[in-house]
Amino acid sequence: MSQTKDHAALAEVFNADEPRVDWHDETLWFIRQKRDKAAHTIPDWELLRETASQIKQHVLSNLSDYLQQFEANAKANGIIVHWAADAAEHNRIVHGILLQHQIDRMVKSKSMLTEECHLNEYLAEQGIEVIDSDLGERIVQLAKEPPSHIVLPCIHKKKEEIGELFHEHLGTPAGMADPQVLTEAARQHLRETFLTRRAALTGVNFAVAETGEFVICTNEGNADMGAHLADVHIASMGIEKLIPKREHLGVFLRLLARSATGQPITTYSSHFREPRPGHELHLVLVDNGRSVQLGREDFRNSLKCIRCGACMNTCPVYRRSGGHSYHTAVAGPIGSILAPNLDMKKHADLPFASTLCGSCSNVCPVKIDIHEQLYKWRQVIVKEGYADRKKTLGMKAMTQAFASPTAFRLAGKAGRWFMRHVPFVVSNQMNPWYKQREMPIPPKESFGEWYHKNREKHA
């Protein structure tokens, strides 16, 4: 996907339609409220988060052992394990499996990893058709758009727009926008898909080192419909999805759905330990930058993420800029600390797409210090030279002035120095501050001047 606009520019486009921004914001805030309500039913919620965080920290510190333990157990269970160093290798492995079985049509359930790897585009170039089976993903696929949210892929779309897409592609009546009717149409359409595809690809929510099994959580049942009907099931997972023991699933499954949508658990939490008798189960372990992130002391904790999307729902910036403004597979606060690891230059804007309000870190079920990592990425990005030059010069001038009380004091009348030097109040009608806000009115004297007259002189 070619992309030239940064987050701020894309967000400005999104904000051109204010009622729509209000609708987007309210929809996601509603989910945040459902999450709060669900969390508050559990008095031990904070202890549960802390436990989940510690389990994940422990996994990251023993990841090489756990990967080997998982691989050995999965193989013993009859699962065929593959390793992919990067997105390209992952895509080649999947393609290879399909070629081997002479399959040119595949059904896929939700996998953000395959979005990250751009698998669908790659397979399309190889002449292989992929149909996404999660309703939201199917909708954005028909619209030829990427998902805008990791849990709610088409949260940016209005039901009337979905109705039009379904009218065009699935033959629903023109003007039909009833979610019940549209969902039923998708059910019929995708049921035919499930029944005719010989290969199904799924994501993985958790993989258990101790047992060699993996768990997939869905509400729709699409992962199960695909996997249990196909001859070949391919599951793709990032290497950070491991947990040590089966009993740890108790901790994570209590947190995941409550954090994501406020449900007590997803409708289906399916544990795949062995292939269906007579069928193949492939598992692709993907690195794609994760081992690099593991080596970044300040950022490795981002690998604790269980992809619940709570940080997106609570983020006041995400709610008012939309997932596509982040121009990366995983949007929102968590995406903004993951993406720079993969391509710092391309994603240099993302850690700045935040007010550092900290709400993301508070809702995170595995206690990732998201807003602190955003701050730290800003330092790294500037040091690596990816900040724009004008900003750098402005900052240097401001820094020198602040380091020198004389320059600051001698700037004259209150407010004048500020109006000239501080980016957010530069007195200039071209200044973005002034577009929709008034400037502060400079008072007749600064506090420093008042103090000199009223206190120092009398001291």
């Binding site: 987050h7 701020a8 967000a11 999104f14 204010e18 921004v21 209000d22 914001d25 969390a39 559990i42 904070e46 006041p316 910036v317 008012r320 700045f352 797409a353 935040s354 007010t355 550092l356 309000c357 900290g358 709400s359 508070n362 809702v363 330092q379 990005i381 500037v382 900040a387 900003k391 900052m395 820094t399 020198q400 602040f402 380091a403 600051f408 209150a414 407010g415 500020f418 501080v422 980016p423 957010f424 109040v425 973005p432 501050w433 577009k435 929709q436 806000r437 502060p440 009115i441 400079p442 008072p443 600064s446 506090f447 420093g448 001047e449 008042w450 103090y451 000199h452 206190r455 120092e456």
Partner: protein, 246 residues
């Protein structure tokens, strides 16, 4: 007890009344307050923009100005949080550490250190309290709506001591206003939208004044209110707590 008063640069330049109220509030409590005249900025605008490595000069200046006080107090949650987290010095590491431990935002200084239980203040208006994120989630001035934990609010504790003041309930009691330092110009569209939404919440609930422990949030919301030609005013919490009983 001697307190070094740190007045953030933009408060000094644009909102001297908030600074005067802070000074007078502390003096009323019998605290000896000193305002070191050579102070400038905490360094946060640079650091939050990714230029923390350029803040050595302002850090050393801060240490020169504020070493040796029993406490340092500032009427800004945001600046205080920045200094607590990021005030470092290669030349004076011990002094930097001492300041990080002794610096307080005004509200928490009043409630936690001075343990104020009575204010001779009167402010007969409907007031909306804006929780600045750095004060709330950073300094923990109030419980955060995301956590499953007992509620408390240090600013409300003080505002409840003000005669005649009526606090309005908000629909979203701790949503960010969108100021965010340079975010307010770098991400102008989202920043303004966040500000408009925050202001609307206060207006819909009948606030006559919007107050906060952070003037930067208020500066942003004031800019929006004035553009909307609203009669609703912003006022730093120190000015309300220091308002004279008649």
């Amino acid at each position: 007890m001697t307190v070094g008063l740190f007045i953030p640069c933009y408060v000094d330049q644009f909102y001297p009344n908030a600074a005067v109220a802070t000074l007078e509030l502390l003096e009323k409590q019998g605290v000896q307050v000193v305002y070191p005249p050579r102070q400038t900025c905490c360094g946060q605008p640079m650091a939050n923009s990714g230029f923390e490595h350029l803040t050595k000069g302002s850090n050393d200046l801060f240490i020169q100005n504020f070493s040796g006080f029993d406490y340092i107090v500032a009427p800004s949650g945001s600046c205080v949080l920045h200094l607590k987290d990021h005030l470092h010095s290669d030349k004076h590491p011990a002094e930097a550490a001492a300041i990080r431990g002794r610096i307080y935002e005004l509200i928490e200084f009043l409630t936690d250190v001075l343990q104020v239980d009575n204010l001779q203040a009167r402010f007969p208006y409907r007031v909306g309290l804006h929780q600045s994120c750095h004060g709330q989630r950073g300094l923990k001035l109030a419980q955060m709506s995301e956590l499953v934990a007992p509620p408390f609010s240090k600013p409300e504790q003080l505002l409840n001591m003000v005669e005649g003041l009526e606090l309005v309930e908000l629909a979203r009691k701790d949503e960010c206003c969108g100021f965010g330092g340079t975010f307010c110009v770098a991400e102008e569209a989202v920043s303004v939208k966040m500000g408009k939404d925050r202001v609307a919440d206060h207006l819909q609930h009948g606030a006559e004044y919007i107050t906060a422990a952070d003037m930067s949030c208020l500066m942003h919301m004031e800019g929006i209110l004035r553009r909307q030609k609203s009669n609703v005013k912003v006022l730093h919490i120190a000015e309300i707590l220091n308002s004279q009983a008649l």
